[in-house]
Symmetry: C2
Subunit: 318 residues, 2 copies
């Protein structure tokens, strides 16, 4: 059976799986992304894990290629450049090293672009020529699709909506700037908003008994569901800023749909309703009432591995 090896390199874990043409994952596994050591060692480790797994599987697979989603992965150059959450610094010639190890055609892009491709091939974006994928994890990633293709930009680095200006002179962002969208709209961002609200408001809240370190983003959804006013207001404030920024994104590329993926997207109506309301109120009249904001169809699946594999499948299907 023909499959593609999809690899998602994250700051903490790296996941990989064998994905067939229909988006079925025949096998998946994950290993910790090393905090030290060389990139060559890491690539060898993945190779060993893959060979071991292939031996244990009871059918034979023909691997057609390798698609990789990685932070700062550059589709054009095949490199991973200065990814803030990875141990390997500088410009890594990732595709070159992979092809030397695996002897298979390899393509890399960033994780959010991979997610957009995953939605296009295996999710709800089939047939959509213009859409945006927003991935809400520790940070905020984005993949833009225009005229049926991923927007890579002249240098391969397009689609960093996490770092558009959301609040003038606002919160400090990991990138060194202030007021970036991801400092507000992300797992970390909404945590910061909870603590901002605890300072601003005097209302009772379960959050008053939890330290910043102990607060898990998914607690916020369950607290909103049990009526905690700080949780509800945190979603409103987060959705307001996300919707306002998305209105600007619409003015750029006018997408038919906007997909949300990641932990915060699992909050469902809590995040989607205030986002939609705010986006509509900030849109030019010509754009109103025709753009959907929806959770990704792959919300409970490994979109990054699927999307990484989609990089290769898309090329083979053409």
């Amino acid at each position: 059976m023909e499959v593609v090896l999809g690899i998602d390199i994250g700051g903490t874990f790296s996941k990989f799986g064998l994905v067939d043409r229909t988006g079925w994952i025949h096998f998946e596994n994950e290993i910790p992304t090393p905090e030290r050591g060389s990139i060559e060692q890491f690539i060898e480790t993945i190779h060993e894990h893959l060979l071991l797994s292939l031996e244990q599987l009871d059918r034979s697979f023909k691997i057609m290629g390798i698609g990789v989603g990685a932070p700062n992965g550059n589709y054009y150059s095949g490199s991973i450049e200065n990814a803030p959450n990875l141990a390997w610094k500088g410009k890594i010639e990732f595709v070159k090293l992979m092809e030397a190890q695996f002897h298979l055609p390899t393509v890399v892009t960033n994780d959010a672009n991979a997610a957009a491709l995953g939605e296009m091939l295996f999710g709800d974006a089939a047939g959509l020529n213009d859409f945006i994928m927003i991935t809400l994890g520790t940070g905020l990633g984005s993949g833009l699709v225009v005229n049926g293709d991923i927007v890579y930009g002249h240098d391969g680095f397009a689609g960093e909506l996490g770092h558009v200006l959301a609040v003038d002179n606002g919160r400090q962002c990991g990138c060194g700037k202030r007021g970036c969208l991801e400092a507000y709209v992300s797992a970390t961002g909404i945590k910061r908003t909870i603590f901002e609200l605890l300072a601003e408001e005097s209302v009772e809240s379960e959050f008053r008994n939890i330290s910043f370190t102990k607060l898990e983003p998914r607690m916020i959804t369950s607290m909103a569901e049990s009526g905690d006013p700080i949780a509800v207001k945190a979603f409103e404030r987060t959705g307001f800023l996300l919707g306002r920024s998305l209105a600007d994104s619409v003015a750029h590329v006018s997408p038919a749909k906007i997909f949300l993926f990641g932990g915060l997207a699992k909050a469902g109506k809590w995040i989607i309703e205030p986002t939609k309301k705010s986006m509509e109120s900030h849109l030019l009249p010509i754009y109103r009432d025709k753009i959907d904001i929806v959770p990704s169809a792959l919300l409970d699946r490994n979109i990054a591995v699927l999307g990484a594999a989609a990089l290769i499948w898309r090329r083979l299907n053409r």
Copy 2:
């Protein structure tokens, strides 16, 4: 000789010309855009003018098609929808009416998209797959090019950078929203900034003797050149906001170049230097020091007519 009829419908004047494959305009003319009357009458008037002119020209032309740039012109539907500065309201089936009158293949898009195509075929954007055209007239228009194609979006209305949020709860914009970029960065926008500065500062300035109505935007450049502090500061403030917004546009589509066209672009270094400085300071590190902001190569030519013609030439050249 094979030519294309390029038409640029503006709020005050409509220009048209016969453009050959190399971008040479063999003939051009303009008529006032009517403030009343039907669209059918207007199309007839253009047709009559064209026939009259063709009779007077001393060589024969074969018109291959008609390209039209018009406010709210929709490439997909061929319509002009609710253009705020035109007399014809609602949704006009413009292409249908044109083809009935001229019996020639007709394509319409908005004026800024046409300008981007003009730069691509006849200006300095030849060979660029990713760039942005900003047209600074009464308002601020934009044409985005990604992967070598104009970004039309799912509905044909993409690229309205004049209406991204530039200042939270800022100036009233003609679109009904507040704080839009074009309320600051446009011929009208910089005039408003001059008067804002006259209120804020106590410094001497020639502008203190000129009424809002009498102030012509091009005076601002000549006053800056003669050292008027209000003029210089108005350009700095305008460039700061344009540059900050462009940094967000870069985070969307990562263009190789950004072209400026229109009256304000003719201010040259006065507008380009503060824009570039502000954009760089608001960019993510990965984007820094590699994006040019330059005046359009067609600054003194009729870019809208050239661009409108380019709509057809591009199709024929493929």
